[in-house]
Amino acid sequence: MEGAREMIRTGLAVAVLAFAATALVAQSDPIAARKALMKANGDQNKVATEMLEGKRPFNVDEAKKVLATFAEAGEKAPALFPDDSKTGGDTAALPAIWENKADFQAKLAKFAQESKAASNATNDLDSFKIQITEVRKNCGGCHQTYRKRTS
């Protein structure tokens, strides 16, 4: 009993610490934090393409993880563009983000929400294909207007 309580307490402490650390990184270096989110999206998106093109066997958990990663990015990103993060850290973010903050955040919210819905609607390769194709249409929405030209 005492041992279990101790474990829960330790677990909680670790969780709180981990959360605080993440929040701290996000706060101290939002540019690095948002770049990491986008990098994760890209990596997961590659996994999705490999499944869609038959280069990797379809796995429903992996498919849902792709969409969960997208949803997480959509939820966390809005807080990672504070006014003091317009430049530096090799950011590709354009000033247009801060000039159209409401639109930018609405687009991220839509991305998060559609990613979650897509995850719920995914149960096999066919449904995954339909869902992720729709979700991916969100990418260009921000990359067209809010990201510096690199591609």
Partner: protein, 303 residues
Amino acid sequence: MLRKLVIFAVILAVIGAAAFWLITMPASVPASALAPYAPNLENGARMFHAGGCASCHATPKQEDKTRLGGGLALKSPFGTFFTPNISPDGKDGIGNWSEADFLTAMWKGTSPDGSHYYPAFPYTSYQRMKMEDVRDLFAYLKTLPPVEGKPRDHDLPFYLKIRRLLGGWKFLYLNGRQFQPDPAKSAEENRGAYLVNGPGHCAECHSPRNPLGGVIVSERFAGGPDPEGGDGWIPNITPAGIGDYSQRDIERILETGEMPNGDSVGGPMAAVVSEISKLSNEDRAAIAAYLKSLPPVKGPKRP
């Protein structure tokens, strides 16, 4: 002696003015050059998507990309251009144009009233297009909804408002040659070459330009600084830049905008992809095959 010098100077000036006048005279396509023709609307739509006409001419922030009221601001080192209305509206668009007017615009960069268009309108690429393709495109544009309203004038320094001077630019950069297939390339690569260099006008963004705004021929497709300013960079699309992309990778980019690293294309390329994605798989494969066949060219050094 002085008298002779003055006469000589006057003669030189007259010859110079005459040469300037001749060189800068806006060229046109005479209606007599057009044989009777039944346009192919399906091919016209293909040319419309290959050219990405909507990317510049659809009124910004509008879902319907077939309403071509213009008004998009195109920044450049010379000033800001505002794209014109090319909807079939009789008053503000091209509704009253003849086929010869349209060919003249696309091939010669000259407006129906006989003045030069700025090369922000990429006629340097469109001059390569086949006459049938241009006529099909014109017929297709005529089927789109008319949109009223003229966008504002270009925002340019006063000396660039003298359009006659553009005749000099055209003398340097517009040679009037239509596309010629390269016998050393496959039929697929030649189809790609046509789409890329003609309607697709890829080189207009993906090449560095000289101070006069002409594409640097030896570095065609090698990318360079973003002409719209900022510190963006237009990627090199020769094998020196995307040599590690497979044929399939390039097709996927053109179809879905997804790059091999899982990222998605951004900036104006997102709009380009939304149009190119409407082409057939064969046409996209042809574009990819052509890009793969280009010699690798190192462009300007990225800072």
